[in-house]
Symmetry: C2
Subunit: 376 residues, 2 copies
Amino acid sequence: MGRRLTDVSTPARLAATGEGLGQDELALAARNHGLPLEAMRYDVTPPGLHYVLTHYDIPLVPDEAAWRLTVSGRVRRVLSLSTAELRTRPAVTTRVTLECAGNGRALLSPRPVSQPWLVEAVGTAEWTGVPLRLLLAEAGVASDAVDVVFTGADHGVERGVEQDYERSLPIDIATCEEPEVLVAYAMDGAPLPPQHGRPLRLVVPGWYGMAQVKWLRGITVIDTPFTGFQQAVTYRIRRKPEETGEPVTRIAPRALVIPPGFPDFMSRTRVVAPGPVLLEGRAWSGCAPVTSVRVSTDGGATWQPAELEPDRGHRWAWRRWSFLWSAVPGDHVLSVRATDGAANTQPLEQPWNQGGFANNVVQRVPVFCPDTAHTG
Amino acid sequence: MGRRLTDVSTPARLAATGEGLGQDELALAARNHGLPLEAMRYDVTPPGLHYVLTHYDIPLVPDEAAWRLTVSGRVRRVLSLSTAELRTRPAVTTRVTLECAGNGRALLSPRPVSQPWLVEAVGTAEWTGVPLRLLLAEAGVASDAVDVVFTGADHGVERGVEQDYERSLPIDIATCEEPEVLVAYAMDGAPLPPQHGRPLRLVVPGWYGMAQVKWLRGITVIDTPFTGFQQAVTYRIRRKPEETGEPVTRIAPRALVIPPGFPDFMSRTRVVAPGPVLLEGRAWSGCAPVTSVRVSTDGGATWQPAELEPDRGHRWAWRRWSFLWSAVPGDHVLSVRATDGAANTQPLEQPWNQGGFANNVVQRVPVFCPDTAHTG
C-alpha cells in the first residue's frame, strides 16, 4: 500500500558491464519484432515481416466507424473527420522504408536498457493516405504556428509519466510537399493491420519510427515548441543524462547484407560453400539519396564498391545493392557501408549515446566457409 | 583454417545461475516473435500477429509454379503435385490454435539456451488445405508403413548436424480423420505468408509447432521409426541429457489472460484503476477440450471459476473465458489455470526438462492498482 506509479515505472538505466539481457528486455523483444534479414529480398516487405515496435498495448478499436481524427489548436476551424471522410480526399501512395530509432541499441556498450534491437528494426511498405498539408490547409493554420502535435490512442506509463503517445513535427515539416507527410489508412493496399496503427497513422518519409504516430486521433497545432515526454525527455541524443541533447529526426544511412548461405540455429553463424557467392542487400538514408555502397569481406580491412541498383523513383525506400564474392575456406566477417548524397556515411566504431538512438555502425556478419562444400 | 562445422554449431547448453540472455538468444528473439497478449482479443489472429518460429532462414521460393510436393517411399505410386494440382482436390478449412513447444522456456531455471519465449508463442488461424489422408490414400500406403516423414525446404545446421528441417508423424496420426491433418496452402483465406511456409505447410491440429512442417516439399512413408535430428535428438522431454526421453507431441492445456489496464513501457507491469475490471483471455489444449478455467487474483492463494464461452464448434482453437474482478489499491498477481476433459491441468510449479519443452506453468501477471484512478 502507499506505492506510487513511479515505483513500477523506474528511470532509464544502462546495463552493467557483461550484464546479459533481462526479462524486461526479453518481454519487449518477444512481443515486438524485427525483419528477418533474408526478407530484404522483397522490394516491399510482405505482411507480418515489417518490424513492429509498440510502446504500450495495441489499442482496442471496437468500432472503426466511430473513430474520429480531430485537427485543432491554432487553426481557423476545427476538423473532426471519420476514416470514411478521409478516404474521399485526395490520396497519395508512397513506398517508404521505416526504421526504429533504437535499431542497433543492443550492440552498444554499455547497453541502454530498452527494446533490445540488433540491426533488424526495419521494413518497407506502400503507405496510402491523405497528405497532412492538405488537412492543415483545410483547417487553416494560424501564422504563429510552431509545432504540430500528433496524439495516438496508445496509453501507458514510462519513467513514471502516464501518457498517450504523442510526438510533434515542426510546422515546416508538417506542411512540406517533399517528403509528403501522410495520414495513412492503408498499408500495401489493405487497411492498416492493428499493430501498424489501425485505423490511422502518420507516415513521415525519411524519419525514424518514433515520428510515425500510430492509432492517430488528434492533430493539434501549437504556438510554442512541444515539450511532451516522447519529444523532450526521450528520443534525444545525449552523451550524459543531464544534457538537453539533440532531437532524433531523420534516418541516418545504413546498408545491410542478406546473410548468405545457411545459418546455424543457435549461433546464427552463416555457412557458405567455397566459390562465387552473390551478396545482396539494401541501403537507405533519410537524409539524402544513397550514392554508394561499399563491401568488406575481411572485417573492414579493405573495401570494394558494390553495384547499386538504378534509382526506380522510390526516393524514400531502400535500394538494392549486390556484390559478387569469391568465398574461400576459412572464417570471414562481411560488412557493408552506405554513403548518401549529403556525404553522410556509417561509422566503423559507433559513437555512444544514453538512449541508444540513431546507431548506424556498419553491420558485421560472421561467415564460415568449410574446406568442403556443404550446400545441402 | 581446418575448422569444422561443429566449431560454429555447438552442443545444447543451460544458462548459468543468474546468467542474462545472450546475443545468440536475442538474435532469435528479434527475428522470431510472439503474440502481443492483447491480440488474444481476436478470435482469429490478424496477419502478422501470429507467433513465428523459424529454425533457419525463410527459404527463397523464386517460382511457386515450379514447386512440387512429392509423396514417396512405401507407397504404390509416387505423387509429384504442383500447388495448382493440390487446389483441385477436396479442401478443408480448420480453425487451429498453434503453440511453440518451447513456449515458457525463458521462465525455467536453469534456462535452456534456445529461442527464449516467455508465454506468448501462440496464435490462431483458419488453415485451408488438402487432407493428408486423401493424398496418402491416392499414393497407396504399404501395409508395413510405420512413420510418415515431412521434409521442408528450410536448410541449416544445428548442433553440428547439417539438415533440411524434417519431422515425422506415426502412420495412424497421419491418416486420422480427427484431427484432420492438412497440407495447407492458405491461411485466413490468403496464400500462406512466406514466414508461415509459403507455398505449402503441414497443419496438425492439437500438436505443438514443431510438427507443423513449413515449406513442405516431401512426404515419405517409411517402414521403420524415423530417427531424424528434430525427432530423435531434440523435441524430447528429458530430465538428463543422456535419457532417450519422451517425444513432444500434443499441446498441454494452457490459459492466458489479456493483461488488463495499461503497461509500464519497460517493466511491463500493468496498472489498473480501482473498481470492476473484466478479465478476459483464452484457453486451449491439444489433448482434450478445455472444460474449466479458474482465476486467481492473489498469486495462487485462492482460485475462482471463470466463465467459459460456449463451444462454438472449433475444437482445435482456443476458447474465450472471462472473469469480473474488483480491483482494490495495492499489488496483485493474476493467474489463470485451464483443465481439459482428460483431466490434464496446468502445474503451479513447472517440472523442468533439458529442452524447455511443453511448459505450461500457470501465468503470473503483476498488476499495480494505485490509490487514485489513473485511467487516462
